[in-house]
């Protein structure tokens, strides 16, 4: 149980705890079905009427759905993507001026850092650093723009 909900319960009243847990299970199930089926408000009202919940719980459910439907759907969508996700891209432009063997380099290049994390486990992060020269950067720019064009036509 969520610690915030836990803190609101009376520790000396075990019956209250079981009622709250039962309500939470019913609400969770109804909201999951509503999100998966993209219910409208009237559909939600119909389903709540059919469900065996108290008038207070029914009212709370309808209020939550009215106010938070986009958020709930967005959260459900997020949970549908569990691979490595690009979280952040950082870059900088360097000029190599000289090295041990080459006195006069003066080669500009970009250095990029990708931060990726697992959508389901934010602690699982992966950082990759690489350098990229101008030609590759031009190619990448073209590819990304092509992608954008493709997606905008979708």
């Amino acid at each position: 149980m969520d610690p915030k909900v836990e803190s609101l319960l009376d520790p000396e009243d075990p019956a209250e705890r079981s009622v709250v847990e039962g309500n939470m299970d019913v609400c969770g199930e109804i909201l999951s079905r509503a999100s998966a089926g993209a219910w409208t408000m009237s559909m939600m009202e119909d389903h709540v009427k059919e469900a065996e919940v108290s008038a207070e719980v029914a009212e709370a459910l309808l209020r939550i759905w009215r106010r938070n439907e986009p958020k709930i759907r967005e959260e459900a969508t997020k949970q549908s993507f569990w691979g490595n996700n690009l979280k952040r891209l950082s870059w900088r432009v360097d000029v190599s001026t000289k090295s041990r063997y080459v006195e006069d380099l003066n080669e500009p290049c970009a250095i990029m850092e990708l931060n990726m994390s697992n959508a389901r486990d934010e602690d699982k992060t992966n950082t990759v650093k690489f350098e990229i020269d101008r030609d590759m950067l031009v190619q990448m720019n073209e590819e990304v723009n092509r992608l954008q064009e493709l997606i905008s036509t979708f």
Partner: protein, 265 residues
């Protein structure tokens, strides 16, 4: 007098002349620098003794070695250690100097190498330049580079928690030069960030190439030797003032930091 001059034997007098005059009439150092390295200085004698074929074989071995590959002991004995050291050093100096082929040809002939042998050297250098530059002798510490970028657009239709999603996502697969392959998803929102970052870094790179530093560097190939000292004075990042560093960083935005600021001359 050059350090190599003392070791040269019968050709010592010729090697003391180490500067040539370029098209504009300015005095230039040879591609190996102001003083001739002993390994290069001994090349004419060695070629005269062992012949052009041995020189060509030695060039091949040097390219092999500088590209990071092993050289067989037997092959080394065939061409001779001294000749191998001479060609290796000459190739390294030629690449380090970034000198043009014509200049290298002139410098080698000024060293008393025959035109044919000098041409062999320049041809070998031209063919193997990229391989040598990426070899362990010349490539310094660096991050891996991006070699390949593949992508695929997926449209999610339905999932366990949503019956109808209809949302496109991009699956990226980037291959780095160290062999690692990174596969990750990019949301449509993140693609906008990626587009901005790539375009911005490319713009910065282009601006940097167009700045005075690089134009001056390009010009220095022909005119920098006008100074009284024959040695070139490279323009380095340390000559940049803090004020310029600030303006560059501001121009580049929050996510950009330029390690070498570009001064306005």
């Amino acid at each position: 007098m050059s350090r190599g001059g003392a070791l040269l034997g019968r050709r010592a007098l010729q090697y003391q002349i180490t500067h040539t005059t370029n098209k504009e009439g300015f005095i230039e150092d040879p591609f190996w620098g102001a003083s001739v390295p002993p390994e290069i200085a001994s090349l004419p004698n060695l070629v005269e003794d062992s012949g052009r074929d041995h020189f060509r074989a030695s060039l091949g071995l040097s390219v092999h070695h500088l590209s990071g590959k092993d050289v067989e002991e037997e092959d080394l004995e065939d061409v001779g250690q001294a000749l191998f050291q001479g060609t290796t050093r000459a190739l390294l100096c030629a690449i380090r100097s970034k000198a043009e082929e014509e200049k290298i040809l002139n410098d080698l002939q000024a060293l008393s190498l025959s035109p044919d042998v000098s041409k062999d050297f320049v041809q070998a250098l031209s063919r193997a330049r990229t391989r040598i530059l990426s070899g362990p002798q010349l490539s310094g510490p660096s991050f891996p580079s991006l070699e390949d970028m593949r992508w695929r657009v997926d449209v999610t239709i339905s999932t366990t928690s949503l019956s109808r999603v209809m949302r496109p996502t991009i699956l990226m697969q980037w291959t780095l030069s160290d062999g690692s392959i990174e596969t990750f998803e990019v949301s449509v929102d993140k693609l906008q960030d990626l587009r901005y970052d790539v375009a911005k870094s490319l713009q910065e790179l282009k601006e940097l190439e167009n700045t005075q530093l690089f134009r001056l560097h390009g010009a220095s190939k022909t005119k920098a030797t006008k100074e009284t000292s024959p040695a070139k004075r490279p323009v380095t990042s340390s000559s940049a003032s803090p004020a310029h560093q600030t303006s560059s960083a501001e121009r580049a935005g929050e996510s950009s930091s330029m390690t070498a600021a570009v001064p306005d001359f």
